[in-house]
């Protein structure tokens, strides 16, 4: 277990060292490229005055709510589309069109309609999560072997039994693959919403740092976002390890 982390740790150290040397000897001013140490000090300050935990909690709430709403809708709609070719024909032009519009282009609209509070960010986050989870749900459900349907039908199984005993477990690997993409995208969704207009959240903190030439603060916000994305990714990987043991 520990052996796996040694290369990661080494590359991280090399990165920090390279960064530190660059700020020391290149002559780039601190407000353009802050040194690792100044970022660390800024991080400690933001922790102790409570601003970082508070803004992180708000962004995390937006992400988690957005993920729940996005994944829920995507799974239900995806299942219905997988089961009905005619419904897919009717809806797919809209779904593809919705993907052709960058979320960043409609984010200001959503903030106008839904206000600059948490709701608009949750919706933007859900929108960005929706598509990859939807596509993978459709692919996963369509890939269920027909022989397993024959088996269940020969046993006179109900629709619900086929759903929970065959379709759900059989499509889980592909579904979780979509969730993995969706989870990392959800961070982008929340930040895009916050950058348009917000009173709080890591996006707000990032913008505040930018306006005040508090570049170390911008770095702290960026690193916190990376940590959030990695954490979500890790949770999905944990789910995969737990539920897909039969695969490897």
């Amino acid at each position: 277990m520990t052996k796996r982390f040694i290369p990661i740790l080494l590359s991280l150290l090399a990165f920090l060292l390279g960064w530190d040397l660059l700020t020391r000897f290149s002559g780039i001013p601190n407000f353009i490229l802050p040194s690792p140490l100044s970022v660390w000090t800024r991080f400690l300050k933001a922790m102790s005055d409570g601003s970082l935990p508070r803004h992180t909690a708000i962004t995390l709430t937006e992400i988690v709510l957005g993920l729940i709403v996005g994944v829920l809708f995507a799974t239900v709609v995806g299942y219905m589309l997988a089961k009905s070719r005619s419904l897919e024909k009717v809806l797919s032009p809209y779904l593809v069109a919705s993907q052709a519009i960058p979320v960043i282009a409609i984010a200001p609209l959503l903030v106008i309609w839904l206000g600059d509070g948490i709701l608009s960010k949750v919706v933007i986050c859900a929108l960005i999560v929706f598509f990859p989870v939807l596509v993978n749900t459709i692919v996963g459900v369509r890939a269920v072997p027909t022989a397993l349907y024959d088996l269940m039908n020969s046993l006179h199984a109900s629709r619900a039994q086929i759903l929970w005993k065959v379709e759900a477990p059989a499509s889980l690997p592909v579904f979780l693959g979509g969730l993995r993409i969706g989870a990392t995208l959800s961070v982008i969704g929340a930040i895009v919403g916050e950058l348009v207009d917000a009173e709080s959240g890591l996006g707000f903190l990032l913008q505040l740092g930018d306006f005040q030439y508090d570049t170390p603060m911008v770095f702290v916000a960026v690193f916190t976002l990376i940590a959030l994305a990695l954490m979500l990714y890790g949770i999905v990987r944990m789910l995969e390890n737990k539920f897909l043991k039969w695969q490897s």
């Binding site: 024959d150 088996l151 020969s154 046993l155 006179h156 005993k165 477990p169 059989a170 039969w246």
Partner: protein, 248 residues
């Protein structure tokens, strides 16, 4: 003796729509099955054997004709397919238990019955193995156990040994024969192997090339229980020759 039959099949026909109008797979099939009779349906590939079995299992409706079980009740069915069709995420025990779960049998009873079935098909020691770790013969034994566990009225076998190597296949004949002796089910089995049908069946129906019609209905009067040596007797040879002559 129509009054002793448990399964009556009358004028069954199946036509599939294709680009040239219609493809007639089965034409006017009629036969009766007695309780606890082992009937083999023998025919060349493309004679509609599998279609016949799928109709009898209720997986597809016939184009015309009818089939009645008992006094008209819906029979419970155990089915074994050409491939083992196991759920890769379920262990041997969980795969065998599936029909009892579908029929919502009490968990404690289900566990006990599953244990008995595992012993009957000789899979003791592999209770918690996943399908990926089983050989072809073992996987097919799981499938047979699963088809028998809910004590079905009718056992339908669709070339269950077609995907196994010759040695395993012949060993499975003896095992299936023993299991059938122990459980005394009404069986309809589809095969294209003359030896297989003679070794296992009480009666062999020979189908013609497409569209499948019954060409021959032959009693197999070989003594039971049948041992491997029976295949080298002159009686077996004579019956095999008659079947060979009936198949185009």
């Amino acid at each position: 003796m129509p009054h002793t039959s448990i399964f009556t099949i009358r004028n069954l026909s199946a036509v599939f729509q294709n680009d040239n109008g219609g493809l007639c797979a089965l034409e006017n099939i009629s036969f009766d099955v007695k309780p606890r009779e082992f009937v083999c349906v023998l025919g060349p590939s493309g004679s509609g054997k599998t279609t016949l079995l799928r109709i009898l299992a209720g997986l597809i409706p016939p184009t015309s004709g009818s089939f009645t079980f008992g006094r008209g009740e819906e029979p419970s069915i155990g089915m074994v397919f050409q491939q083992a069709t196991l759920m890769p995420w379920r262990t041997v025990t969980e795969n065998i238990k599936l029909p009892l779960e579908v029929k919502k049998i009490d968990e404690a009873v289900a566990r006990k019955k599953t244990k008995e079935m595992i012993e009957l098909v000789g899979l003791t020691g592999f209770e918690d193995s996943l399908p990926r770790d089983l050989s072809g013969g073992m996987a097919q034994r799981v499938a047979i156990a699963r088809a028998l566990i809910h004590d079905p009225d009718l056992l339908l076998l669709d070339e269950p040994f077609a995907s196994l190597d010759a040695m395993t296949r012949e060993r499975m004949w003896t095992e299936l024969s023993n299991i059938w002796q122990a459980r005394q089910k009404t069986v309809i089995m589809v095969t294209h192997s003359i030896n297989e049908s003679l070794f296992l069946a009480d009666r062999v129906l020979v189908l013609t090339q497409r569209p499948g019609k019954i060409k021959m209905d032959m009693e197999v009067d070989l003594p039971r229980p049948r041992k491997d040596e029976i295949r080298y007797t002159s009686r077996f040879g004579k019956l095999a020759k008659r079947l060979r002559g009936a198949i185009e």
